[in-house]
């Protein structure tokens, strides 16, 4: 059967993660969890720590690209061109976490205009340096990525980036954070605050998930379900 065959076909994942920085413990916890998930769901994961290897040929091996806390600046030109083609041509799926929305002029690099458009035309503005908990509200409970995810769930430790505007007009928002729920409260807010979204303009199945700082996310059942669903959906297995 086509459905069964597709669901069980092994697939290859490329995961791009920074080799250090504020989020290193998240990436380390993610790897452990991904290894277990890979066994259960018939996929393999290759890790890279920079964009040196990325080319069209290199990406053609992979059915899913996970940008696991890697910034959208400072990429090799060949890599950024190959990535754009991978996404606009629908060659595979993509999941971006956390740092993927650090849009702006960082460390002397110009903003990657295409990537900003991909993320909904936004620009990074600020973060909550003391970290706070927040309630995530699922807006599209029917989407496959939200299957089995409670309609609201608490994320204990996040810095909740704010952007110059909400990406909502240009993307499909699957979940937002309720800024009124922050504990402790913070002045750093943006009003409408999406945290999980898809860009339907792109051929590739794609999803951005903001939460991705603390390793305790891998003790959060709702988060794990969300990420598992996202992987299978983006890889075309669900």
């Amino acid at each position: 059967m086509a459905q069964t065959d597709q669901a069980s076909t092994p697939f290859k994942v490329l995961a791009l993660a920074e080799n250090g920085g504020h989020h290193i413990r998240y990436s380390q916890a993610a790897k452990i969890w991904l290894t277990q998930l890979a066994t259960q769901h018939h996929f393999s994961v290759d890790y890279i720590e920079n964009t040196d290897k990325i080319s069209e040929t290199f990406l053609s091996q992979y059915q899913l690209f996970i940008q696991l806390d890697y910034v959208p600046y400072g990429w090799k030109p060949v890599a950024s061109a190959a990535f754009e083609k991978y996404i606009t041509s629908g060659k595979g799926g993509w999941i971006g976490f956390h740092h993927a929305t650090l849009m702006g002029e960082f460390d002397g690099y110009p903003m990657w205009q295409w990537f900003s458009a991909f993320m909904g035309g936004i620009r990074y503005v600020n973060y909550i340096p003391s970290f706070v908990s927040g309630e995530v509200i699922v807006e599209q409970v029917e989407h496959p990525v939200m299957k089995g995810v409670p309609s609201t769930f608490t994320v204990k430790t996040e810095e909740w980036y704010i952007y110059d505007k909400s990406p909502r007009p240009k993307v499909q928002v699957l979940a937002r954070v309720d800024e009124a729920s922050y504990q402790p409260d913070s002045k750093i807010k943006m009003g409408d605050h999406p945290v999980v979204w898809i860009n339907p303009e792109m051929k590739a199945r794609n999803i951005y998930i903001f939460m991705g700082h603390s390793p305790d996310l891998f003790e959060n059942e709702a988060y794990k379900q969300l990420v598992q669903n996202a992987i299978l959906w983006a890889a075309g297995r669900q």
């Binding site: 250090g20 960082f106 990074y124 600020n126 003391s130 913070s186």
Partner: protein
């Protein structure tokens, strides 16, 4: 007090402060009083403060015992010390750096020969110029939402300092979040005698953090010294401004906070 604040203020943490205190009377004076002040703060706030000239403490084993590393007046010079420090920071360590710890100038005794530290981590690149002689400035709080600037007014008067300007325009780097800058009410800043040592206008960041690391650099840390009469007597204190002390302590508590 919120539960988080209570937790932060009672949490035990360990600070390792490194210094050299050899080359400049103004920096030596600062280091001496900084060690005294932090020791007092450690007693008051219940943390451990260990201060040393032994830069070989910068190794992975030693560093694992400390939540915060402070560079009081210089940077590490040996390659293995630099490598250990970079690894410590990339694995979630926290750092506070004062004044000359950010200095690099090619050619000088402190060449810019450590690109990660000067260009990526601190972001300022190289030293460009300074004010003279050391004087207080009115500082502007650029980010009132940051924990380090808690309970500070929008401007406050600093302790006397020699203010630096930098090669890189960090206001244009989105990795850098500027916390304090020279407020325009400070101008003219400095008394010379050289004209370029007096600033009349411009944007001068004074304290900042890098959003990719748990770090705060601040330009304070250079006392006024009586060079003219050759007494080398200290004429100012970096810890003479109550709001500045508040900033330093807020910053340290934020750096020590686990997140």
């Amino acid at each position: 007090m919120s539960p988080l604040l209570a937790q932060v203020s009672t949490a035990k943490f360990k600070v390792l402060a490194l210094y050299t205190a050899k080359n400049d009377q103004a920096h030596i004076s600062f280091v001496k009083e900084a060690n005294q002040w932090f020791t007092q703060m450690a007693a008051k706030h219940g943390f451990t403060y260990h201060s040393t000239t032994d830069w070989n403490k910068l190794n992975i084993k030693e560093l694992s015992a400390y939540q915060v590393v402070v560079f009081l007046d210089t940077r590490p010079e040996a390659p293995e010390q630099r490598k250990a420090f970079e690894q410590y920071m990339k694995n979630g360590g926290a750092w506070m750096g004062f004044h000359f710890a950010g200095f690099a100038l090619t050619p000088s005794a402190y060449d810019q020969n450590w690109d990660w530290y000067h260009n990526q981590f601190i972001g300022a690149g190289e030293y460009k110029s300074n004010t003279w002689r050391p004087t207080s400035a009115v500082l502007k709080v650029e980010d009132s939402a940051h924990p380090a600037t808690k309970q500070l007014h929008s401007t406050f008067t600093s302790a006397p300092n020699e203010w630096y300007s930098w090669k890189n325009d960090i206001g244009k780097n989105d990795s850098i979040k500027i916390l304090l800058s020279i407020d325009e009410k400070s101008f003219p800043l400095g008394t010379g005698p050289k004209p370029h040592e007096i600033w009349h206008s411009g944007y001068y960041p004074v304290a900042w953090t890098n959003i990719h690391y748990k770090m705060i650099y601040m330009n304070m840390g250079h006392n006024d010294i009586n060079y003219e009469n050759k007494t080398n007597k200290t004429l100012s204190s970096t810890f003479s401004s109550k709001p500045q002390n508040q900033f330093i302590m807020n910053a340290l508590l934020w750096l020590a906070q686990k997140d």
